[in-house]
């Protein structure tokens, strides 16, 4: 159970988030959508305690992010930020093993190795596990970072634009893996995603932000209407139902 109560955030003079309230049940995939600058990334960063709260309260299963020790939270929530530039030279295996740090605190056990091996396989990284990340393509790097976050094995997983740098095939593979993780391991995944159709195809819930406020919230079917999309993005799209799923057409 995630509770976000009355949070606001100012960055400089700009009010980025304004009195945001919502709660989410555990499990499933929630997509946060909205135009650029709507406050999506700031919301994720606040939830993951990367930024301090100006006011309000956020809790995960009754753990208040403002009061709970950081290392306890690291087993409860994990976050992948938008830009990941790591100047340190690490191999994929080392990077993903660092995702286990909250559990092993520097002394990896058998279980940690097993978990990392599983994740590497899931993310199709096992063949390049010993390569340094600075030698990989952008897509491979992105998958390695996602693998690191997944290996953290937290109940709540926050991903800020996880499909950055990924081609169609890998983007779909990642989304399928996330779906699998959410369903089979009962994880809650909250992601910021720009491609509305990708979001619609794999998520359960939508939270739409505009100018720092939640303007629409609900199941995918409820939110995916022409009226709502125009409200959120200020653009007109056609919503068509194909094989029982709603799709937005905005390319022409």
């Amino acid at each position: 159970m995630i509770k976000v109560q009355n949070i606001s955030k100012k960055l400089g003079a700009k009010l980025v988030l304004d009195e945001v309230n919502f709660s989410l049940k555990k499990g499933g995939i929630t997509a946060i959508i909205g135009a650029n600058g709507a406050g999506k990334s700031t919301l994720l960063s606040l939830m993951a305690r990367l930024l301090p709260l100006d006011c309000g309260q956020i809790s995960f299963d009754d753990l208040d992010t403002g009061k709970t020790p950081s290392d306890v939270l690291a087993k409860k929530i994990s976050i992948l930020t938008q830009s990941n530039y790591i100047s340190a030279r690490l191999t994929v295996l080392q990077l993903v093993m660092f995702g286990r740090f909250p559990h092993h605190k520097g002394r990896p056990q058998k279980a940690d190795h097993a978990h990392v091996a599983k994740i590497l396989e899931l993310m199709e990284l096992d063949e390049i596990a010993d390569r340094f990340i600075d030698q990989l393509s952008g897509g491979q790097q992105q998958r390695a970072y996602i693998a690191m976050i997944l290996s953290q094995d937290s109940d709540y997983i926050l991903l800020d634009e996880p499909l950055n740098n990924l081609d169609m095939k890998h983007a779909r593979n990642i989304m399928q893996s996330l779906r699998k993780i959410a369903d089979e391991m009962n994880k809650s995944i909250i992601l910021v995603i720009h491609d509305i159709n990708f979001a619609a195809a794999y998520s359960d819930l939508f939270i739409a932000l505009k100018d720092g406020k939640i303007i629409v919230q609900g199941s995918v079917d409820e939110v995916m209407t022409e009226g709502n999309i125009e409200l959120i993005y200020d653009m007109q799209v056609d919503i068509k139902t194909i094989d029982g799923k709603k799709h937005a057409f905005y390319y022409t």
């Binding site: 993951a48 990367l50 290392d71 939270l73 976050i79 790591i86 340190a88 740090f101």
Partner: protein
């Protein structure tokens, strides 16, 4: 694997023993073993302390460089490119002026505080620099060091302490004797501390967001790292004097084949730092035998050349 470590150890041992034999007065190891006269005195009072000092300094400076590179997220940072060394020298100078009777310990403590403040100022300036241009970081750091060095020079000039300052500013092992180098063993302890938090330091190297995500207290680890850096720098400046670039070139060479996972890399960095400094010291003692060239000049030349190579290696940089 075992064989590799074995040979590495033998090589270091060979360098170490070899360095015991380099010196003006005649000396043979077995003579020192057999009788207790001059031979043993030379070994215990001069040769052994010097060789230990070289090994400790080389490995500690290399480790400190690696730590700073993690904290600053930049491959070109080390004590001389971040104002840390100059701050420490200024600290010793200030201690000498205001508490002339102070012991070496007090001077080092004051130098540590100065080095801490200097590094902290450097990190503050770093925050205002764009991450996209990694070269700005050492550029600003060297300038900062230059400014602090100029302040130290000014004070020393006006208080007639230029002679002393020159000694601290130019690292030289020739003054190392029993009773005047033991503080350097502290750097060994500090290096062990660094190894103890190697994983945390590597995570700090992945950036603040990642560190917080993994539940690390970012500020605590950065502060711990900086304290280790400042103490090691202060001790070395006070006992040996400034030696540039070891902390820059050794970690950069090691990370090319080992990466930056400090848990694995730190021992190798320390080892190569020790070997490199020993070789440079032996070279400096032999080239104009029976005189010697200060270590800072030799490593300044080699280090600067390697630095230029590292800079121009990737031609189109940012």
């Amino acid at each position: 694997m075992f064989l590799k470590y074995f040979f590495a150890f033998i090589f270091l041992l060979f360098l170490f023993v070899f360095s015991l034999f380099v010196g003006v007065s005649d000396f043979d190891l077995f003579g020192a073993w057999a009788d207790e006269g001059d031979q043993q005195l030379i070994l215990l009072a001069s040769r052994l302390p010097r060789s230990f000092a070289v090994v400790l300094t080389g490995s500690a400076l290399a480790i400190v460089g690696a730590i700073m590179q993690m904290i600053a997220h930049n491959k070109f940072v080390e004590p001389t490119t971040a104002g840390t060394m100059d701050s420490a020298a200024l600290g010793i100078l200030v201690a000498t002026i205001f508490i002339p009777t102070s012991s070496l310990m007090i001077k080092m403590l004051i130098a540590t505080v100065f080095a801490l403040v200097g590094s902290w100022v450097f990190l503050r300036i770093l925050r205002r620099l764009p991450v996209t241009n990694p070269l700005l970081v050492p550029l600003v750091g060297i300038m900062l060091g230059g400014i602090i060095g100029a302040v130290a020079n000014f004070i020393a000039y006006e208080t007639d302490l230029i002679q002393y300052l020159t000694v601290w500013m130019h690292g030289d092992f020739s003054g190392i004797l029993r009773g005047r180098y033991e503080m350097l063993w502290l750097t060994f302890g500090l290096s062990l501390c660094a190894y103890f938090i190697a994983d945390q330091l590597t995570i700090v190297g992945m950036g603040k967001d990642m560190a917080v995500n993994l539940g690390l207290n970012y500020r605590t680890i950065v502060s711990l790292g900086l304290i280790i850096v400042a103490m090691v720098t202060a001790i070395i400046v006070a006992t040996v004097g400034m030696i540039p670039f070891i902390g820059l070139i050794i970690p950069n060479i090691v990370n090319r084949f080992m990466g930056d996972n400090l848990r694995h890399a730190l021992p190798v960095i320390a080892y190569i730092g020790a070997c490199f400094t020993l070789i440079c010291d032996i070279f400096g003692r032999l080239i104009i035998y029976p005189y010697e060239v200060p270590i800072a000049a030799i490593i300044g030349v080699i280090g600067a050349a390697v630095f230029i190579y590292l800079l121009l290696r990737r031609d189109v940089h940012a």
